[in-house]
Symmetry: C2
Subunit: 189 residues, 2 copies
DNA sequence: ATGTTATATTCAATAATATGAATATGTCAA
DNA sequence: TTGACATATTCATATTATTGAATATAACAT
């Protein structure tokens, strides 16, 4: 369900083709939904078809000289109303599923260096992700007080990303230090 | 895939029936996998069947006087080895999918009070969750330095939970303050 | 007795996601 | 001209996840 609304929310701000959308739903694409909702191109095209059928979207075929033709989608009034309703609805808390924590929880089954490697890799990934967010902040959100309404909400999602990654990083630090901690004297003897 | 290993990792520590497992995979169950991997009972029973077929688990039927009979599962050597291999493997970063952020990103489409209600509900939920984690910490992890190897890893997953919820909470605070901030003088006129 | 709750499990349908393959047009560089 | 990219979309299949329904035993309260 959410994917369709995520698509609507992107299209309501900017008309786009399926191909354009696939890029915005990529987790590593700059400044787009991909940061908090990912989808494959196959998913997106299927969903676009459904939404058009329901009349929530309308499409316009655009001939191009130097590219294959494309279909540009835009949100209808009906679609926009459904989007607004969905946003207002209460959402149930998403199912938690974290593979790393499942593995870590059973970490006593394998040797410690293997676990440490894993944690350090995660640390790096979160550092990189945080760096991206902070660059976006520097480039586009220097003065949060003066943002347009539209950008205020973008800013809040960016802030969440920063807090999220920071949380992971401080945990990674603590976890690594904890596991590298020398064994207590009593247990050594 | 992960679910099967999550099941193995629980069973390797304690033999259990399908019914026992369903409780451990509940997100609100105290001190269990449910905190980082949830699954419904139907999923669990199906997975148990598959794992038994593959010989990674073995089951023993236990007659009970005051209850329906049950099947107690335990992990075979084969299963244990596969579990260890899986833990050691590198995991790909999980797909990001956060419904709240999708909604918030399009928050300019609805009125601000509706968004604030949403944020405050989330704040409450995260507060409650954090309180649970902190209680577990107080009750079972007062002296992290003296924990058994097994419990050291439990402790680390608990720590992650605490950092995660703390990150959400500080963000909720900032986001709410930001949206409640009085409109700038220029934009008012 | 009747209804509710807890234990214990199975089957079926549907929805969502992931993966692989295929097709078509056009640019650009070796 | 061959190969590698980038644009643009479709179809098929497989795996997971969600939801609903069903069955059975037994405790416990009204």
């Amino acid at each position: 369900m959410s994917l369709s609304f995520a698509i609507l929310s992107v299209l309501v701000a900017n008309h786009a083709s399926g191909y354009d959308l696939t890029k915005r739903f990529n987790p590593s694409a700059e400044g787009s939904v991909g940061f908090f909702w990912t989808a494959s191109f196959q998913q997106i095209y299927r969903e676009l078809g459904r939404l058009e059928e329901k009349g929530w979207l309308q499409a316009q075929t655009v001939q191009q000289d130097n590219r294959p033709d494309k279909r540009i989608y835009s949100v209808t009034e009906l679609g926009k109303q459904h989007l607004r309703d969905w946003i207002t609805e209460a959402e149930k808390s998403p199912p938690v599923r974290d593979e790393l924590l499942v593995k870590l929880n059973a970490g006593y089954l394998v040797d410690r260096p293997a676990i440490l490697v894993k944690l350090k890799m995660h640390q790096q990934q979160h550092q990189q992700r945080l760096a991206i967010y902070e660059e976006i902040e520097r480039n586009h959100f220097q003065n949060p007080e003066t943002l347009s309404e539209f950008l205020q909400f973008s800013y809040l999602t960016l802030l969440m990303g920063i807090h999220y990654e920071t949380g992971w990083l401080t945990w990674c630090d603590r976890a690594i230090r904890f596991l590298e901690m020398p064994v207590q004297e009593e247990t050594k003897r």
